[in-house]
Symmetry: C2
Subunit: 235 residues, 2 copies
Amino acid sequence: MKSPTQATRAVCLFSGGLDSTTVLYDALRRGYHVTALTVSYGQRHAREIESARRILQPLGVRSHEITIEMPWGGSSLTDSSLAIPQALADPPADDKIPSTYVPARNTIFLSLAGSLAEALDAQVILIGANAVDYSGYPDCRPDFLSKMEQVLATGTRAGVNGHPLSIEAPLIKLSKKEIVLLAQSLGVPLEWTWSCYQGGTRPCGVCDSCGLRKKGFLEAGLQDPGETYEVSSKR
Amino acid sequence: MKSPTQATRAVCLFSGGLDSTTVLYDALRRGYHVTALTVSYGQRHAREIESARRILQPLGVRSHEITIEMPWGGSSLTDSSLAIPQALADPPADDKIPSTYVPARNTIFLSLAGSLAEALDAQVILIGANAVDYSGYPDCRPDFLSKMEQVLATGTRAGVNGHPLSIEAPLIKLSKKEIVLLAQSLGVPLEWTWSCYQGGTRPCGVCDSCGLRKKGFLEAGLQDPGETYEVSSKR
């Protein structure tokens, strides 16, 4: 991660969740000229797109919200006939990769971000991937990100011309607790961020993503304002 | 490229052009169980999608036709305010990469194909990339395809579980002449394939892609049936 002396142009993959919002705020604090990229891909928690819009609106950040079709499913996050696993109740899959893994999602997202970055003549792609308190997705690991950087260095005009795109994942080595504390210190509107995998109007509190978020706030000793903001008295 | 003893499941990136149609026919001849993937991405020659449908229809091949948004342009192939370069009249760009290069297009396409391949439990991705008589796109070169294979090996469930997806580019080392001859020997309906970058109803005959196609047929000593089928008496 570099500390730019002159404004670095960056494309930030931005879902409206806790992690990518923290990355966005961190990049703005560091003076990056950020363009946010939000992808609608048939996720059952399309609710996160509303959060993304709400978070972006007061920031005046340039953004693209795009739709891509992935009608082949292959994930409980895009196929509503499959159940979303519960963090504590459901055993992990044999390969530790949960059914919410969306085939090649971050490869697709980083490819699209790379395309946008080239078109904008940007130097950096930002992603909220995290490999500590994470779901076990193979496309959130440093080795994957490093190989993706090599692909973009080889397969783009920018790379061929000696200006390879850099992929920065500032949260990659942070625990969820550390992400929560960083978010708080950056003034992230935590109450607007959306993490739940379910498609409801309120977080379910039991999916993997809700479970990780709960853990982070608990260990950070903070109340999740998203909970009081969105969650019913059932919890 | 392997010669399967039992049916290999493959996803074939299929545009309806000469190259990808040849790859499709070659895969079917080799007994692959093919699913074709055609991507509409705002290309000005969306006419190629009609060709893809027409070619697929009699084959009974399973297929997906998807749409993705890339509103940032960055290419004369997706931004109609930019001119398509002419093969002979326009000098090449300094970096030899023409304005028809679409930022990170093959990275995006191979990511989408990788996602579909994972969902189908397929083993192979087929792409009509060619690095001999080609446009100079960085994402058509063997080194890029090799790095993309590594990304998919690292960032997908299939890869993590020891079944990495293989990217096959059977035309990569062929000249356009050899592709034309291979297509003819495979019975490819050449008259239905579409190569022209312009969005007209007939090939322009002067863009890079028409130029390469002409060269291939000329060197192969064959008449392009697409010409008599589609082209006006102007040529």
